[in-house]
């Protein structure tokens, strides 16, 4: 790992100030992606501003139908939150399947979405639920936030503070893990929201997370796995790699959507 300067931020304002003052700084939350990337010498931030200790950025709160999750909340704390399990089990379940137990104890929702790894799980839920990403400066709709592979709408010195969304009537996440990395080879978050059916796919697209509109339309007509039978998923725009080509991923999009819908509570 290259040399870096570590700072522990005490508040969101402190984090913003520290990152603003740094030469080429990066925010560090759980570090479960950033630290391995730095170990591999693929990232060399001059400064690391650790936001994981900022109290305001922790926890899950539910007010009416709105769920708010602090950006530094670990996957384990999202997965284990009883209120969230009751209100939107799909998101809790998704969090329970990220990485492995040790990774879930450290990795955070804010870190995951800020990185926008094309195989990360959270972006699918955020996009499907039309989540709002709240930063120190503004609120960004998920559809505008996820720009492309490893790219988001965040400015360099912008800190994600929390994520909020309206709990859907039904939601579930179905993930097909890559046999090696266990990241999502295809992950589908299906939700029945006030605005209609939502199907968001991670892992498969060559430009990151995306919505499968034709499936949403079919589900709007009939919310059931059978409604998807006639929908063809093409392989264009899907990833091909040693673990599976685009044709296989297209099949998995279909199968995982069916399973997500079937698994919806």
């Amino acid at each position: 790992m290259y040399e870096t300067k570590y700072h522990k931020a005490s508040s969101v304002a402190d984090a913003v100030s520290l990152i603003g003052k740094s030469d080429d700084g990066k925010l560090l939350s759980g570090g479960q992606t950033l630290v391995p990337t730095m170990k591999a010498r693929l990232a060399a931030p001059s400064d690391l501003v650790d936001v994981s200790g900022i109290a305001d950025m922790h926890g899950v709160s539910i007010s009416g139908s709105t769920v708010t999750i602090g950006a530094a909340t670990t996957h384990a704390n999202v997965a284990g939150n009883a209120d969230l399990q009751a209100k939107c089990g799909g998101v809790a379940c998704l969090a329970a399947g990220i990485g492995d137990p040790a990774v879930r104890h450290k990795g955070t929702i804010g870190g995951s979405i800020a990185n926008n790894d094309p195989a990360a799980d959270y972006p699918a839920a955020m996009l499907a639920l039309d989540a709002t990403i709240k930063t120190n400066a503004r609120e960004i709709a998920a559809a505008d936030f996820f720009v492309g592979m490893f790219e988001t709408a965040l400015e360099e010195d912008e800190v994600i503070v929390s994520i909020s969304f309206d709990a859907p009537a039904k939601a579930a996440y179905a993930k097909f893990p890559n046999p090696a990395s266990r990241y999502a080879m295809v992950g589908v978050f299906a939700a029945q929201t006030v605005d209609g059916a939502r199907v968001a796919v991670t892992g498969a697209g060559d430009d990151g997370v995306y919505r499968q509109f034709d499936m949403e339309a079919a589900l709007d007509t009939d919310w059931s796995p059978n409604a998807l039978a006639g929908v063809q998923v093409g392989s264009e725009g899907l990833l091909s790699d040693m673990h599976g080509d685009a044709t296989y991923r297209a099949n998995l999009v279909k199968v995982m959507t069916r399973r997500a819908v079937a698994g919806c509570a």
Binding site: P179, S181, Y183, M242, H243, G244, D245, Y248, N251
Partner: protein, 786 residues
């Protein structure tokens, strides 16, 4: 005797590992230690035009930057291959030179061209990035078939067409004639996938040159420290043998990959002398993928013929073996004498012919990996047998049984003499344990849930304890494959056994103790096993090829014979009895039929005080043996795999895996079962998960656990492990070896099961979900077309 032969004694070595008190190479810190970081080629094939280390040398903490010209200039020799294979035409191998640090040319991604020695590992890595190497990139090939094609780049000047050797075994014309007259022929192309061994402890070396004593010490992750010392001194001229101590402390798994003496260990020793610092290097995981010898990588065509009664009449095989960019230590033996000699399987086959073209490619060198040649043979034979049974519409169980070798010794057409075995009993036991009769009902039940069930067999035979030395020498081996042992009885009667075998997970400290405990009736806590240090243990050959039981323990057994004989002489003298009447049991040395007795410790004391020994006897009680077996041993067994495939995704679940093995005498069933479990996991990993992937430019795409699928707990089933043993007549303990069987026998069982489930025999390893799904699509497309 609760701690003797056959007892499930808990392991003596466990406590230190459980408490975090194991001592692995990277745990060792020498005073004034510096760190090595290698400058490695990012190209698969390139000329090295220049190396500029001036910027790197000026960086903080950098002690020196050394290159291949300096290394060869200091007389460090090229890396050797330890087994000379003779080609069809009688000529020798076309072996290209391999220097620990490449000079003019690099031949695979990861080939090292320089090394940075610095005060800290981060400083060394920073400086390694600052070494400027000017490469002229050359075309590269990764696959053996491509390397043999016209216009392929030439990797070594002295290997025209990239052929390392073209070798044959068996008789061509009789085999062709037998196949011409066959009633049925099964013909297949069979690929054995390339694997990365992946012991969990990465390779590591800590080298120290002491200029006051002109002496070197090397701590290293080795399966065979004495062989390492011999090769480092006699061939690489790093240091004379008596000035070099090699210690392999606790070693975290090997699986073959830690047999070899790699460029990094050589370089660290030399760099320690150059810099007058202790030098440590520890591989990271990606470096391990790029430098640890890979395994397998065969492309074969095979033809097996049957008469009208379904008896095998002949087998003809051609294999292209990818050896990578350089010849590793046993790379020539693995696809020849460790492979084609097992092509008769468990069957009576009168005519076999196999030829093997070994090929250079721009990939990591390929060598022995758990099973080494035998998995390749077993996979080929057992895929052929299952496929033939399907084609002829006969039971795979009956087809095998009809062709079993049933009388021993049995000479095969590929130079092996099977000494013992009872293949039918192993098969019966496995079939019963798997409830094979109930399979069709289970298949129907699975179908009712939309799942595809399949069952597959594998009847493996393998060869362990390569021997005798004179025979392997005549086949080209550069070493003898005996083993040594020294049994030291201390004056207080406790015992140290110094063995040339090396334990890196096999539990030698326990099993080796058990045969000593059995012999003298001593508690195992009174016995200590010493291994892995060339300053303590006399020359020995190390642990690989499942040899430590049949060969290593036999050496101990022979040394125990000598200790027992001398102890009896001493006791007879002290107790004034005839030597023939002395019996040793329960820690007591007794005169049979009398109440005259002395404690075992009193014999030890008598031996060392020397006050009352028989006339002319030397004091002391310590004996040595060098044991050279008379033949290979032949573990064999029957494996059954039952799977369920999800047709929507191609995901395969192993419902049950049954193993029935014949390992001869078993010293500790708990440890033997553990060896089988681990071997099965590696075999199932090969069949379903693991594969090294290169792209067209010979870049390794699977060089981390992000892309190389290591078997995890939820990929694997519980195993149903059984034994049905016949004693091996070739060694005093009757042992055959158990370390590799699981990895050898399991891959064909898995693929036979999956192909049975999906109704498409065209499936290669690793049978990942995407491949299985594609094979299912192909099968249904074919069905639709028919």
């Amino acid at each position: 005797m609760t701690e003797g032969i056959g007892a499930r004694v808990l392991r003596k070595e466990d406590k230190r590992f459980l408490m975090g008190k194991g001592r692995y190479t990277d745990d060792i810190v020498e005073p004034n230690q510096a760190y090595a970081a290698f400058v490695r080629s990012p190209h698969a094939h390139a000329e090295v035009k220049s190396i500029d280390a001036s910027a790197a040398k000026a960086m903080d903490g950098v002690v020196d930057v050394l290159n291949g010209e300096q290394l060869t200039g200091d007389g460090i020799g090229n890396i050797i291959c330890g087994w000379a294979v003779t080609q069809k035409d009688g000529s020798g191998m076309n072996m290209g030179a391999w220097s620990a640090l490449a000079t003019n040319k690099v031949r695979y991604v990861g080939d090292a061209v320089a090394v940075v020695i610095a005060d800290s590992i981060e400083q060394a890595r920073n400086a390694a990035e600052a070494v400027e190497v000017d490469y002229k990139i050359l075309p590269a090939v990764a696959q053996s078939m491509d390397a043999l094609g016209t216009g392929a780049p030439e990797i070594h000047e002295n290997a025209p067409g990239n052929v390392v050797f073209d070798w044959e075994i068996g008789s061509l014309e009789p085999t062709d004639a037998a196949l011409a007259g066959a009633a049925h022929i099964t013909e297949m192309e069979i690929v054995n996938n390339r694997l990365a061994p992946n012991p969990m402890e990465p390779r590591s070396a800590v080298a120290t040159y002491n200029n006051a004593e002109d002496h070197y010490t090397l701590y290293t992750t080795s399966q065979n420290p004495h062989v390492a010392r011999l090769v480092l001194s006699a061939f690489y001229q790093v240091a004379p043998e008596h000035k070099l101590r090699v210690i392999a402390p606790d070693v975290g798994g090997g699986f073959g990959s830690k047999i070899y003496i790699y460029p990094e260990e050589i370089t660290c020793l030399w760099a320690s002398m150059k810099t007058n610092r202790s030098v440590k290097w520890t591989s990271d995981r990606t470096e391990a993928f790029l430098t640890d010898a890979h395994g397998r990588d065969h492309v074969s065509t095979a033809k097996i013929g049957f008469d009208k009664d379904h008896k095998i009449v002949g087998l003809k095989v051609n294999t292209k073996a990818n050896l990578g960019a350089y010849m590793s230590l046993f790379s020539s033996a693995t696809p020849t004498y460790l492979y084609a000699t097992l092509l008769s399987g468990q069957y009576n086959i009168s005519n076999i012919y196999c030829d093997v073209q070994a090929v250079y490619t721009n990939t990591v060198p390929v060598d022995a990996y758990r099973g080494a040649g035998r998995p390749e043979a077993c996979y080929l034979v057992e895929r052929l047998m299952e496929t033939a049974a399907r084609e002829m519409g006969v039971s795979p169980v009956e087809l095998r049984r009809k062709n079993f070798v049933t009388s021993f010794p049995h000479e095969t057409p590929v130079i092996m003499t099977y000494d013992s075995g009872d293949f039918a009993t192993n098969q019966d036991q496995a079939i019963k344990a798997a409830d094979y009769d109930g399979f069709e009902a289970r298949r129907a039940e699975a179908a009712s849930r939309g799942k595809l069930r399949g069952i597959g067999f594998s009847n493996y035979i393998e060869a362990c304890g390569i021997a005798p030395s004179a025979a392997v020498g005549s086949l080209g081996a550069g070493v003898g494959l005996w083993e040594s042992a020294e049994v030291r009885v201390n004056p207080v009667g406790t015992i140290e056994v110094l063995t040339g075998s090396h334990s890196h997970g096999q539990g030698h400290e326990t099993t080796f103790t058990q045969i000593v405990a059995e012999r003298f009736g001593l508690p195992t806590e009174n016995i200590q096993i010493v291994h892995g240090d060339t300053d303590k243990v006399q020359f020995g050959m190390g642990t690989y090829g499942s040899r430590s039981g049949a060969v290593g323990m036999s050496a101990i057994f022979k040394a125990l014979d000598k200790v027992e004989a001398k102890a009896k002489k001493i006791a007879a003298h002290v107790l004034e009895a005839s030597e023939d009447d002395i019996v040793i049991e329960g820690g007591e040395v007794k005169v049979a039929g009398t109440d005259k007795t002395m404690g075992w410790h009193e014999v030890g004391l008598a031996a060392y005080t020397g006050h009352n020994l028989p006339e002319g006897m030397e004091p002391g009680l310590k004996e040595t043996s060098f044991y050279d077996p008379t033949n290979f041993t032949f573990p064999a067994g029957c494996y059954i795999c039952e799977v369920e495939v999800d047709p929507d995704t191609g995901v395969t679940d192993i419902i049950q895996f049954v193993a029935s093995d014949d390992f001869g005498t078993i010293i500790n069933p708990m440890i033997v079962e553990g060896q089988v479990h681990g071997g099965l996991a590696q075999g199932i990993g090969q069949a379903m998960l693991e594969g090294v992937v290169y792209d067209d430019d010979a870049q390794q795409l699977s060089a981390s656990y992000m892309d190389y699928a290591m078997p995890r707990a939820d990929d694997l089933p519980n195993y149903s492990v059984h034994h049905a043993s016949t004693e091996c007549p070739g060694n005093p303990l009757g042992m055959k070896g158990c370390g590799e069987a699981g990895a050898i026998g399991s891959p064909p069982a898995v693929i036979n099961a999956i192909t049975d489930a999906i109704g498409n025999n065209d499936l290669s390893m690793p049978a990942t979900p995407s491949k299985v799904w594609a094979a299912l699509q192909a099968a249904s497309a074919k069905q639709a077309a028919e």
